[in-house]
């Protein structure tokens, strides 16, 4: 396969391929972080996760339009404003959904699956009615497009590096909130033993609501970031939901570290296989491997021992 190419060609391709794998890794982590909190910490199977992401994408699109028509001089920086707004919008919707729907179903985890799936259909049709059935194009400021030339032959996509940076930041923030802050301690206490947590004075309902909102808000940021690399349409959330669950379940539902490790494994396997095989075959082999490993280790890569 590589006989015809020069060493310098090959080495620059391998560098770029390495970056492609890392970018895919960041995309996976970003997709999965919100769900890892909701599914991992609260045990809620949120099938509408993709639609929370797309809400973030639509908020970004609206912000971009607003800046273009009202504040064109600040357009270069609109994306940061858009991400904050996306976080707030998706988080607020998450809070509303938790209050109106999820909290009534905590004792019936399988019913949350159906309820949130219904919610995802409702949200899709709402987007279609509000924003139209067609996809919308989100315009990016000039500096976020194109690539950085490391050498003459090595080009690294700027939006990919942006996603990587963002992922690192958000992962650190989430880890800090969950493991260092007082509120994170409360969340973990509620997860481990809801009754005891309530007994020592933690407002478990409030903790639930904010945890769910945090997960949805992160989904909103992810959706906002993905306008750089993917499409924004009423059903675009469906493109992400399978990969997202795959990463979270494979990693071990309750473990943030597991999510990261699993995103890394899957993304590297997939991007390497994609390079040597075709896109469809790479996906098939990756899925087969995951199924095989989950059969041997149903709890996922990392599992926390929890007193039931």
């Amino acid at each position: 396969m590589f006989g015809d190419y020069s060493i310098s060609d090959l080495s620059s391709i391998f560098v770029m391929q390495g970056f492609a794998g890392l970018i895919l890794f960041s995309v996976f982590v970003l997709m999965a972080l919100g769900l890892a909190i909701i599914f991992g910490q609260m045990g809620v199977i949120n099938m509408a996760h993709g639609e929370f992401m797309i809400l973030g994408a639509y908020v970004t699109w609206m912000t971009s339009n607003f800046f273009q028509s009202h504040l064109p001089s600040l357009f270069a920086g609109y994306f940061f404003v858009a991400m904050i707004l996306a976080f707030l919008a998706s988080g607020a919707l998450g809070m509303l959904v938790e209050w109106g729907l999820i909290r009534h179903l905590y004792k019936r985890p399988l019913d949350t699956l159906l309820a949130t799936w219904g919610l995802s259909l409702i949200l899709q049709q709402t987007y279609r009615s509000v924003f139209g059935a067609r996809e919308v194009g989100v315009e990016l400021p000039e500096w976020m497009m194109g690539s950085e030339n490391l050498t003459d032959t090595i080009q690294i996509p700027i939006n990919g590096m942006f996603v990587m940076g963002l992922t690192v930041l958000i992962t650190i923030a989430v880890a800090y909130i969950m493991f260092k802050s007082r509120w994170g301690r409360q969340v973990r206490a509620v997860v481990q033993n809801r009754v005891m947590a309530g007994a020592v004075g933690i407002n478990t309902e409030k903790v639930d609501r904010y945890t769910f909102a945090l997960g949805c808000g992160i989904a909103g940021i992810a959706g906002s970031a993905f306008t750089m690399i993917g499409s924004t349409g009423p059903t675009a959330g469906q493109l992400y939901i399978v990969d997202t669950f795959l990463v979270v379940v494979f990693g071990g539902a309750a473990s943030l570290l597991g999510t990261i490790a699993s995103a890394f494994t899957i993304s590297q396997a997939q991007s390497t296989l994609e390079f040597f095989l075709s896109g469809s075959m790479a996906k098939v082999l990756t899925l087969l491997a995951i199924v095989g490993i989950l059969m041997l280790r149903p709890q996922g890569l990392f599992a926390i021992k929890v007193r039931k």
Partner: protein, 419 residues
């Protein structure tokens, strides 16, 4: 005639009208917009939903679900055509009334709704379907209940039915002229074939490969790859393209993947003003989602572009925007959908009847001189003779038309030597 009157007028007015029948010769001088010139019993012998003043047709597309993105434009075009036909006096003097059903991006639903339109509503024609999967699902229904379907999408070919008129291109019409053009003007020899993983891109790439290897001097395929529908990650294949340095990237990617592909191509530093990319799956509709700045410079091979410079199109584009908004764009399939109602009207008037069998038999040879793409004619095989064109994407989301075939290209749904 008297029979027609009795059917239509069960009101107190009837007696007065009957009394006035003596004055009928004078009445006939007045305009009679609601009364058809030809008796319904003559033009409708098989019990279709045709009255003296109205004829019912069906529109069957997805307006919900994942395909709504693509099918919305077709619905809009068909409604515009029906509006215009009605304003011009209708079909055989009868106004078109349409019943719209939603296929909901679900193939069994398409079949069910098709049956409803044919069996319950007795539609004289149905304009609809978009994906090949939905067409395959309704085909047995149309053949069993003898309906007439006008199908707008460019597709893989390998099909022909008495009950379907294909107003889009079959694969060879879209592929071969484009490859010849890129070979001749760009001297392109090496091709990297890409596609979403389902029947249309696979069949199209198969034809493309046969043509490249068999008919282009020095033609060579250096890669061929497919991605699951909805894939959003293309960085690995983009690296492979960088490694193999093909003269042409030949891309048949559809749906949300399209957006991801072109954004990542641009982000990876592949400059479409230098790297030739030829696609048969990106119309003006798709560019709306992709963003013009991400795809500017790419070539597309279609039969229609919104920017086409001819009198028909100059009337069509403003009419479409007036009805559906200044911001809407018109892609190849939208135009093909617009042809459906017009071709049906012309065929019915040629046949002098709404009967399905007579319409099917009269279809070959029907020509539509008012087509926005210029001129089309129905072939014996129920596909259209039409020109093939190459356009180059601009940053504003429109195409510059840079090449068109000198003659109409013959539709060939079962191409010999390409299967």
């Amino acid at each position: 005639m008297a029979e027609e009157y009795e059917k239509g007028l069960h009101s107190p007015l009837r007696r007065k009208l009957l009394m006035g029948m003596a004055a009928l010769p004078a009445l006939s001088l007045l305009p009679r917009p609601s009364l058809a010139d030809v008796p319904t019993s003559v033009v409708n012998t098989t019990g279709l939903a045709v009255t003296d003043s109205e004829v019912t047709v069906g529109i069957l597309h997805s307006v919900t679900g994942t395909m709504a993105i693509s099918e919305t434009g077709s619905v809009e075009a068909e409604k515009l055509a029906i509006d215009q036909i009605n304003a011009a006096g209708g079909v055989l003097g009868r106004k078109i009334k349409f019943i719209q059903e939603d296929g909901a991006s679900d193939w069994p639903t398409f079949a069910e709704k098709a049956k409803k339109l044919l069996v319950n509503d007795k539609c004289a024609a149905v304009f609809g379907c978009w994906t090949s999967a939905s067409r395959k699902a309704v085909l047995p229904v149309f053949e069993q209940y003898n309906g007439m379907l006008y199908y707008p999408t460019f597709y893989e070919g390998l099909e022909q039915s008495k009950n379907v008129i294909y107003t889009g291109q079959e694969a060879t019409q879209q592929i071969i002229a484009g490859l010849d053009w890129v070979n001749k003007t760009k001297g392109a020899k090496t091709f990297y074939l890409l596609g979403s993983d389902y029947i249309w891109p696979r069949t199209s790439n198969k034809i493309a490969r046969k043509h490249i290897e068999g008919h282009l001097a020095g033609g060579k395929v250096v890669g061929e790859e497919y991605f699951p529908l909805g894939s959003t990650q293309f960085n690995s294949v983009i690296n492979k393209i960088k490694l193999t340095k093909p003269d042409v990237i030949y891309a048949i990617i559809v749906g949300g993947s399209n957006v991801a592909f072109y954004k990542q191509l641009k982000a990876a530093g592949i400059d479409l003003s230098k790297q030739t990319l030829l696609t048969i799956s990106v119309t003006e509709d798709e560019i709306d989602g992709i963003g013009g700045e991400n795809i500017a410079g790419a070539y597309a091979c279609m039969k229609y572009f919104q920017s086409l410079d001819n009198p028909n199109n100059k009337a069509f584009v403003p009419a479409f925007k007036k009805m559906w908004g200044e911001k809407t764009v018109i892609g190849d399939v939208t135009q093909a959908a617009y042809l459906g109602p017009w071709l049906w009207k012309l065929t019915v008037e040629k046949a002098g009847s709404f009967d399905i069998d007579k319409v099917a038999a009269a279809s070959p040879g029907v020509e539509f001189k008012g087509a926005p793409e210029g001129y089309v004619r129905i072939h014996e095989n129920h596909h259209l003779w039409s020109k093939t064109r190459v356009g180059r994407a601009r940053a504003d989301g429109q195409y510059d038309v840079i090449y068109e075939t000198a003659d109409l290209v013959e539709p060939d749904p079962f191409p010999k030597g390409y299967q």
